[in-house]
């Protein structure tokens, strides 16, 4: 990489926040529009580095429709100083943006197959662009299933959208929560348990999984148990990303850099590493 290209890739472009929607008590979705130029193309599963000026930079997945070229959409949970500053951004404020970066969900590879999307908690956000893409092109896929799990009924992300998806005829949606009271009338239990009830042909299925890493490990095990080949299970990993270019090494995961070689990985490539505590 030349010095000029590297400098470009490290230079945040100013984007104005045009909308901020509170999704949950600690989760906000931001629409970002560049002050100059156009919104770059992005692929489902990629992320941007968002820079809260004077505070710091964080890797945040894109959560909008990839066919919408008018804006970037990011869904951010307030978990630390940087994400708190980003999540607190109000319309009119300016954030720095570098990206998009990273390997995408293999949506082209999934064409012709049944597709099972398994999301846990905020993991629905990085999968949302893939859901948009698959539904925008549903004739290219077989059966489509979205299985979503959250901590409790009050923690369900994109609740209205999930409700709207449930009303569609081209996707099966199942939602479960880990804990609930009697006022919740849906499933209670962990999201991998939804897999055994979902309607798909395991031998002809591509599975996209995102959520806390523990949840993804158990989900991958359940998918394998259902007969989905490990080469067609894909996970999106979360690591501490800094440069987003595979240079600084902060997000090293064995021989890979999550920012550059991921965040989306084939389960067959990383299964053994996921079980190693030291990585």
């Amino acid at each position: 990489m030349s010095a000029a290209v590297l400098a470009d890739a490290m230079l945040p472009a100013p984007y104005r926040v045009t909308a901020a929607r509170r999704e949950l008590s600690d989760v906000v979705t931001l629409d970002l529009v560049p002050l100059a130029g156009e919104v770059p193309d992005f692929a489902p599963g990629q992320f941007n580095m968002l820079y809260a000026f004077g505070v710091g930079e964080a890797a945040i997945s894109l959560s909008g429709d990839p066919s919408d070229r008018s804006r970037f959409v990011h869904t951010v949970r307030d978990v630390g100083a940087v994400s708190r500053a980003i999540a607190a951004a109000q319309p009119g404020m300016v954030l720095g943006v570098r990206g998009p970066f990273g390997a995408a969900w293999p949506v082209a590879q999934a064409e012709g197959h049944d597709i099972v999307i398994v999301a846990g908690g905020l993991g629905l956000a990085p999968l949302r662009p893939a859901i948009y893409h698959v539904l925008n092109n549903s004739e290219r896929f077989g059966r489509i299933a979205l299985l979503y799990g959250s901590r409790g009924p009050d923690d369900i992300l994109f609740r209205e959208e999930l409700g709207a998806l449930r009303a569609r005829l081209d996707i099966d949606v199942a939602v479960t929560v880990d804990h609930a009271g009697r006022d919740w009338h849906g499933h209670v239990g962990v999201v991998p348990r939804l897999i055994e009830k979902a309607s798909f042909d395991p031998a002809n299925t591509v599975a996209l999984v995102c959520g806390p890493e523990v949840m993804m490990r158990f989900t991958a095990t359940a998918l394998l148990g259902a007969g989905v080949p490990d080469s067609r299970i894909f996970l999106s990993l979360e690591r501490n990303m800094k440069c987003a270019l595979g240079l600084c090494g902060h997000c090293q995961f064995g021989p890979d850099f999550v920012c550059k070689d991921g965040p989306v990985f084939g389960y067959d490539c990383i299964a053994r590493r996921l079980a190693v505590r030291e990585i």
């Binding site: 905020l122 804990h179 009697r182 209670v188 239990g189 348990r193 949840m215």
Partner: protein, 154 residues
């Protein structure tokens, strides 16, 4: 009885079971229905039967003094409700409430335990199937305990 046997053997919990075991099981089985809100059983009651759900959803609940009942798991079509019939003291350790209208097969626990003692092949077959369900539920319960969504960043 012939229809009951055919339907019983079509239940996913008994998928592929040897038909000779099916004939033994059907003698312990009957069709049951529960209205939404009705309880299949209550905590500490004798666990003298268990259920194979054909349709509907059942919530396993635990009452906590001073709090609303907590739903610890839901069980749906094709699943089994209840394992306490298998081990002494044969008492339920949660409530089971139909959250929707439920159709199920009820299997008489004493009948099945007796037939399993008489025919260990049947007992072993049932134990293997139950063990699969129980291990899966134990793993799921462990995952629930992890509370994995508590602090996961975006």
């Amino acid at each position: 009885m012939e229809t009951l046997e055919r339907l019983l053997l079509a239940h996913p919990f008994l998928a592929g079971i040897d038909p000779q075991f099916g004939r033994l099981l059907v003698g312990c089985a009957k069709n049951v229905r529960f209205a939404a809100g009705e309880f299949l059983f209550h905590e500490s009651d004798p666990a003298d039967e268990f259920y194979l759900i054909r349709e509907g959803m059942v919530a396993l609940e635990v009452s906590v003094p001073g709090r609303a009942p907590l739903v610890i798991s839901t069980i749906g079509e094709g699943d089994l409700v209840g394992a306490s019939w298998l081990v002494a003291p044969y008492r339920w350790n949660s409530d089971a409430r139909a959250t929707t209208p439920v159709r199920a097969f009820s299997l008489d626990a004493a009948c099945l335990r007796r037939k399993s003692e008489e025919d260990h092949h049947l007992g072993y077959e049932m134990m293997k199937r139950l063990m699969q369900v129980m291990v899966n539920r134990m793993h799921a319960a462990r995952q629930q305990l992890l509370d994995v969504y508590g602090t996961a960043p975006a």
